[in-house]
């Protein structure tokens, strides 16, 4: 069973596919008409990968390093080609804005062609909060270069001395003094002008932005509110069949025997058995379900699966000593000896599910040995590689397209649905659409890892940290390092044998690492009798983190808050992926019923220069709401290799009535590069609420979710 659990994206240690045949410049140039083409060589875009993932960077270095391209057609239409995909984070809109800003054309004239492996340059995937800092910057450079080319063409055309008298506005180059203008598409006069630029092209500083930095409505909003937008699960091709896959009764079960007679007797049904894969394709959903039910399968199940109740012991037992890079400085024993107070505590986090409202879906079509798959994934090129491997064909014969997708949150990195649909389509010799049921999504996708964290710390009576030892079992290394100033630190991540398939999730392990750290910090503040805010600031030199902490506390009214029976306030902060966050929460606890209600949340967030303030607020608020679920109730329950709560009626996600008033403070640092914002705003929600519950009820909660069944069952 272990080989099934090896995830390419476990802990987001992404490895590039061994081979990827990026569309070459020549091929790409053949696909676009006359006009201005700008290709960006993206050495800067890879720097993060090179630092963190040596092998991936090495493999990629041999590939065509073009990372973005942009085309201005003779009709003045601007097309941007990018491997990023839209999953609700609204990167389509903010990248449009970034290009509009540099190019001086209205956003409405710009089209983003996204996530089509035959049309866009290679991209590792849409994850890790990199679209804004990397792709956004590259596209702005491409647009800035195109702007320079357009101005140069206009200078030649009008015989003026230089471009200083010219301006680009509303898709035209304007020469005001002479009272003339020309559309940007007309300038090339039927030629195709190709320009290649690299990383140092100048950019307009954020202080001078006029389009970027202001709110822009969602580019595809009108298609969404009218129901016109076709997600993968809405697609229909001529002659298309509907696919269904036979699932084992439990993880690791092997197919012992299969009788397909009944299913094959149904008109129009194709049954596929290929090794352990069994599936059907039929003209419509009902027939496909009937065929699936008519399959007679016997399974050999395996025993000794850990359950959600004993999984934490299992993770500790199977953990390896060294995973990732241990962080150490000073002498932890000396630090503990120097402390007035020593404290040890353990924390746990349940496995949770992403629950994207659109389940995994794929439409696959074979045509003369070439495979085309539409699917909702965050890694179109990764899925292309998976498909090529699965069918033993070269990547050049596989095209993956990603329609704007019904959310992902880190849950759609892999290509199993694409492979299943393609296998069925191959057998049926017709296009096949496969949409997972909610139960399949809850069972056969992957989960955010559960984990255990042990913390041992020392602090002096004046509140100064002297020692910090932190061990994370299984959940991951993201956000594991403390941002506080401690002279003696030991930090280690221990990979373990996970009983469930696990992978990426919004902010990865930063949520749990931050929960354990910020809960523990609260415990230490109580030990030395300090205010939690003052205690943190006392141990914190990082100015950006201090700034969000102080901004959140100020807006929240932290120091002015009046104690009331049954109520409490808590705060937490953290740094991850270039974003700085601090969250304050007020809760009300009814000790009689055990009911915990979050009354309000204030969050301060800073991610450098803000590109789309409205989109950013939307992301921050969405992350907070999602964080409420993982903080309070969400937990995947399992035993004997089965998921026990694979339905929305059994797995509680936040709804309207659960969401308190949320106040967001955005610190716009125009002097700093923009960082991504889809993930980090989630990481301080759970500890802020947990700390508030402690303040309200005197009960210290060290497990996520905090109150799946209310507070009553918790011993004070």
């Amino acid at each position: 069973m272990s080989e099934q659990r090896i995830e390419p994206d476990r802990y987001e240690l992404k490895k590039a596919p061994r081979y990827h045949f990026a569309l070459s410049r020549r091929q790409f140039l053949g696909t676009v008409g006359a006009g201005v083409v700008v290709l960006v060589v993206a050495r800067d875009g890879l720097s993060l990968d090179e630092q963190e993932f040596g092998e991936a960077a090495m493999l990629r270095a041999s590939a065509d390093p073009i990372s973005a391209w942009l085309h201005i057609g003779e009709d003045g239409a601007v097309t941007v080609f990018t491997g990023k995909v839209e999953v609700g984070q609204d990167i389509r809109t903010s990248l449009t804005q970034a290009v509009a800003e540099e190019l001086g054309v209205p956003p409405a004239r710009i089209t983003l062609l996204m996530g089509d492996t035959d049309r866009v340059p290679y991209d590792a995937g849409t994850f890790g909060s990199r679209s804004t800092p990397q792709t956004g910057t590259q596209l702005r450079r491409a647009a800035a270069a195109a702007r320079g080319t357009l101005l140069r063409l206009a200078v030649e055309r009008w015989g003026v001395d230089d471009a200083s008298q010219l301006a680009l506005a509303d898709g035209r180059v304007v020469h005001r003094a002479a009272g003339r203008s020309v559309g940007i598409g007309e300038l090339t006069g039927g030629r195709k002008l190709v320009e290649t630029i690299d990383a140092d092209a100048p950019l307009r500083p954020a202080e001078r932005w006029t389009i970027a930095g202001t709110p822009l409505p969602k580019v595809k909003g009108p298609d969404i509110v009218t129901g016109r937008h076709r997600y993968t699960s809405d697609m229909r091709l001529p002659g298309m069949l509907v696919g269904k896959v036979l699932r084992p009764p439990s993880f690791g079960a092997r197919l012992a025997s299969l009788d397909t007679t009944g299913a094959e007797a149904i008109p129009g049904v194709v049954v596929v058995r290929d090794g352990e894969f069994v599936g059907v394709a039929a003209p419509d959903e009902a027939t496909a379900n009937r065929a699936l039910a008519a399959l007679r399968a016997e399974w050999e199940t395996t025993s000794s699966h850990p359950s959600h109740r004993d999984v934490f012991e299992h993770l500790r037992r199977t953990a390896s000593g060294s995973g990732g890079s241990p962080g150490a400085r000073g002498d932890i024993e000396a630090g503990l000896a120097a402390a007035d107070e020593r404290h040890e505590a353990s924390y746990t986090a349940a496995y949770i599910a992403h629950v994207p409202l659109e389940p995994r879906a794929a439409v696959a079509q074979w045509d003369d040995g070439k495979l085309t798959v539409w699917t909702g994934t965050q890694r179109p090129f990764g899925v292309r590689a998976e498909l090529a491997r699965a069918f033993g064909i070269s990547e050049e014969r596989v095209r993956v397209l990603v329609p704007d997708t019904g959310s992902a949150y880190g849950g759609k990195h892999t290509g199993e649905t694409a492979i299943e649909a393609a296998r069925l389509a191959k057998a049926a010799q017709r296009p096949v659409r496969l949409v997972w049921t909610r139960e399949e999504e809850f069972t056969w996708a992957y989960f955010r890892p559960g984990g255990v964290i042990d913390v041992k710390s020392g602090v002096r009576r004046d509140g100064t940290l002297t020692a910090w030892e932190f061990h994370n079992y299984n959940s991951g290394a993201a956000g594991i390092r403390t941002p506080y100033d401690v002279p003696n630190v030991r930090t280690q991540f221990h990979p373990a044998d996970s009983p469930l398939r696990q992978g990426s999730y919004r902010a990865l392990a930063a949520t749990f690492n931050n929960f354990a750290r910020e809960t523990h910090m609260d415990e230490l503040a109580a030990r030395v009798g300090m205010d939690p805010l003052a205690f943190r600031l006392h141990n914190l030199r990082d100015e950006r983190l201090r700034a969000v902490l102080e901004a959140a506390a100020e807006r929240f009214g932290w120091s002015r808050w009046q104690q009331r029976s049954g109520r409490g306030i808590g705060l937490a902060c953290g740094v991850e992926k270039g974003g700085y966050v601090a969250t304050c929460a007020e809760v009300e606890v009814d000790r009689a019923s055990g009911r915990v209600r979050v009354l309000r949340i204030v969050e301060a967030f800073e991610c450098g220069a803000v590109v789309n303030p409205d989109g950013l607020r939307n992301q921050v608020e969405g992350a907070i709401v999602m964080g409420l679920g993982g903080a309070l109730w969400e937990a995947v329950e399992f035993e004997d290799g089965r998921i026990l709560n694979p339905r929305l009626s059994q797995y509680r996600v936040p709804r309207f009535g659960d969401v308190p008033p949320i106040d967001i403070v955005l610190l716009d640092r125009k002097d700093l590069p923009s960082a991504g914002a889809g993930e980090t705003p989630i990481i301080a929600v759970a500890p802020a609420i947990g700390n508030a519950i402690y303040a309200a009820a005197g009960v210290r909660l060290r497990s996520l979710p905090l109150v799946p069944h209310g507070l009553a069952g918790t011993a004070p």
Binding site: L648, V653, R655
Partner: protein
């Protein structure tokens, strides 16, 4: 052979050959190619499949098509009048009340049911009415604002 049913959807009469037990959602999506109503859970828990039947919101994923009879069905596709968006659709755009947008059609249809019964709802009423609709991206407060904004618009339009 499945019987032929007459179904009035978005003001048009459709003849559909379907098992009466087939879900309204499957008929809309498969037989009529109206894919605005979404599958989200198949058990009436998420609201992504919400459409109006005789003016009231129903979970089309758990509604047998045979139970509809002559009652009119309204889906998100039937809401706009040509290029003119319904005030609710416009309000969702104005408030930026979406991220991935997968829940949006169901949200708008559930809100339409509410505004049909309570043209000027209080904020709490909006929250309660939409409690059965999940926005996993967490845009709840924007959706509430959008519905309130549309209610304001609708009221003004009605007074003129």
């Amino acid at each position: 052979m499945a019987p032929v049913l007459e179904l009035r959807v978005n003001g048009r009469l459709h003849r559909v050959q379907a098992d009466p037990a087939k879900s309204l959602l499957a008929v809309l999506r498969e037989d009529l190619d109206l894919t605005g109503a979404k599958y989200g859970c198949g058990e009436g828990q998420c609201g992504a499949c919400t459409v109006l039947v005789d003016g009231r919101a129903v979970r089309s994923c758990i509604t047998p098509v045979g139970s509809i009879g002559a009652r009119p069905v309204l889906t998100i596709e039937g809401l706009a009048d040509g290029d003119a968006l319904h005030p609710l659709q416009q309000a969702f755009l104005d408030e930026g009340a979406m991220q991935c947008g997968y829940c949006t059609p169901g949200m708008i249809m559930a809100a339409l049911d509410l505004l049909g019964r309570a043209p000027a709802p209080a904020e709490d009423e909006v929250r309660r009415a939409l409690e059965g609709n999940i926005c996993r991206c967490g845009t709840y407060s924007r959706i509430v604002r959008a519905v309130l904004r549309a209610a304001g618009t609708a009221t003004e339009a009605g007074n003129e």
